[in-house]
């Protein structure tokens, strides 16, 4: 049996943090992605420009640099805001940027840009006649989105979504650098303490592969569901 030198429970907690971080960032990224896609397809020149600027900058800068900027810079920025609040209005609050929140926000922000591209392509794949039909029924914008655009768009979005999730999952490893005890950090500490890097790093690698395989299966199920009514060409 593999000897974990008592690091087993901490490694398990780390794995849980990785999964929570991944799922929460994915949720944020999907919301941001939908907003970005709408902004980029919008007729408003300003919204289009902002959407393009966001995706260009995020995709041009390394994840780790963005994460450090948000984590280290975020605390100072928030302190300046709270200081100003205290000095001008006498409101005394203290907000501590926690590594987990910083991680979720950064990863969500990064993948929101990638999701935006995925969703934009998927939205454009929905037949515009469908949307016109919805309007003709007297549906408002939101109802058209919820009942017509979203369900049909997801069919085209899922392959890209699944890809982005796989990359996002691997990006969560970076939070170990800003001090969050995810499984990579626990494994790195354990490797140094026990001088057995192979044991711990291979376990962590195996857990990542396991999560990836399970989610691949999940996405295949989801794809099948959203493909209902369409037949694959042989």
């Amino acid at each position: 049996m593999i000897d974990l030198h008592g690091y087993g429970p901490r490694l398990f907690e780390g794995a849980m943090i990785t999964i929570q971080l991944g799922v929460l960032s994915l949720a944020l990224a999907i919301v941001l992605g939908l907003v970005t896609a709408s902004a980029k397809m919008s007729r408003s020149w300003v919204a289009h420009r902002i959407g393009t600027l966001y995706t260009t900058i995020i995709r041009g800068v390394p994840d780790l640099v963005l994460m450090m900027l948000l984590f280290f810079g975020g605390q100072i920025g928030i302190n300046q805001i709270t200081d100003a609040l205290y000095n001008h209005f006498g409101i005394d609050i203290f907000i501590n940027v926690n590594e987990f929140v910083a991680g979720v926000i950064t990863i969500g922000l990064i993948f929101g840009a990638y999701m935006g591209e995925t969703f934009r392509g998927a939205f454009m794949a929905v037949d515009s006649g469908q949307i016109e039909a919805g309007r003709a029924y007297g549906m408002n914008h939101w109802l058209v989105f919820r009942r017509i655009r979203f369900p049909q768009m997801m069919r085209h979005a899922i392959p890209g979504l699944s890809n982005n999730w796989m990359v996002l999952l691997k990006t969560t490893a970076l939070v170990s650098v800003i001090g969050l005890s995810d499984m990579v950090r626990v494994a790195a500490e354990a490797s140094k303490a026990t001088r057995e890097p192979f044991t711990f790093m291979i376990i962590v690698a195996a857990i990542y592969l396991l999560i990836a395989s399970v989610s691949e299966w999940g996405f295949a199920r989801l794809q099948k569901r959203y493909n209902a009514g369409y037949r694959e060409a042989d």
Binding site: R59, G60, P62, L66, G73, T171, F198, V204, A205
Partner: protein, 243 residues
């Protein structure tokens, strides 16, 4: 050159963070980053070509190990691979006494190995996709000419596969540039390492990280334009005819 330096120094005289010294750190970091990325990309490319050919082999004992290699290296974070190689090398018993230690002592080589293995795995998949999408008619024509397998690969399959792989490979190059920021985690003074140093010294996260982000952005655009130029040159025959 001296005139330029004095001019630069005068420009920076009022700036407490971006002095000639800190700019020097960024400059050295830029050199390290470029070295790491270019070296790992070149070695990875050289490894990926035979691997991609082997990946499509009908012999399972050839294609299966390559498939597993790609699956593992594409499915796990680069940071884990880097730690595995970095710590793995350090803790091998007795390695400190051998000649290998002279090279492996610095974190540059373990990082280069990790980056190379990672990019080789991704590039293998890119090439495999390009090789697989070769037009059947081209292969049949080559066979009809009596070409051997090797000759067919060299003259027909690979040249067109490389061209088709170009856009995806451009993305991989940008991905590698961004991934190289991880090198700073194992104490390498690359661009990100320089930014972390400046941040720690002056406690100025915005200056330190926004500056380095701008450098990365410029590098990314440089790569983007280079590949766009290459695509225009090499993929000109695939463009839809203009009316």
């Amino acid at each position: 050159m001296d005139a330029l330096m004095t001019w630069l120094e005068a420009q920076l005289a009022d700036n407490s963070i971006f002095t000639l010294q800190t700019l020097g750190y960024y400059g050295e970091g830029l050199v390290t980053t470029v070295q790491l990325v270019v070296l790992s990309l070149i070695i990875g490319l050289v490894l990926a070509v035979p691997l991609a050919i082997g990946r499509g082999s009908t012999y399972r004992w050839v294609s299966l190990p390559i498939f597993l290699y790609c699956y593992v290296f594409r499915g796990t974070p680069l940071l884990v691979q880097l730690y595995l190689i970095y710590y793995g090398v350090v803790f091998v018993d007795g390695i400190q006494e051998t000649w290998l230690w002279v090279i492996l002592e610095k974190p540059f080589v373990p990082a280069l190995i990790a980056f190379t293995l990672n990019t080789a795995a991704y590039t293998t998949e890119i090439f495999r996709g390009a090789i697989k999408s070769t037009d059947r008619g081209e292969i049949e024509a080559a066979r009809a000419y009596g070409m051997s397998k090797g000759l067919m690969l060299r003259r027909i399959v690979l040249p067109s596969a490389f061209r088709r792989a170009l856009p995806a490979y451009g993305n991989e190059v940008i991905f590698m540039l961004h991934a190289s920021a991880i090198a700073s985690v194992v104490t390498i003074m690359d661009l990100t390492g320089a930014a972390r140093f400046v941040y720690a010294r002056f406690y100025a996260p915005f200056d330190a990280f926004l500056f380095v982000a701008a450098i990365y952005l410029c590098l990314t655009f440089g790569i983007l334009y280079l590949f766009r130029y290459l695509e225009r040159r090499l993929l000109a025959h695939l463009k839809p005819a203009s009316g």
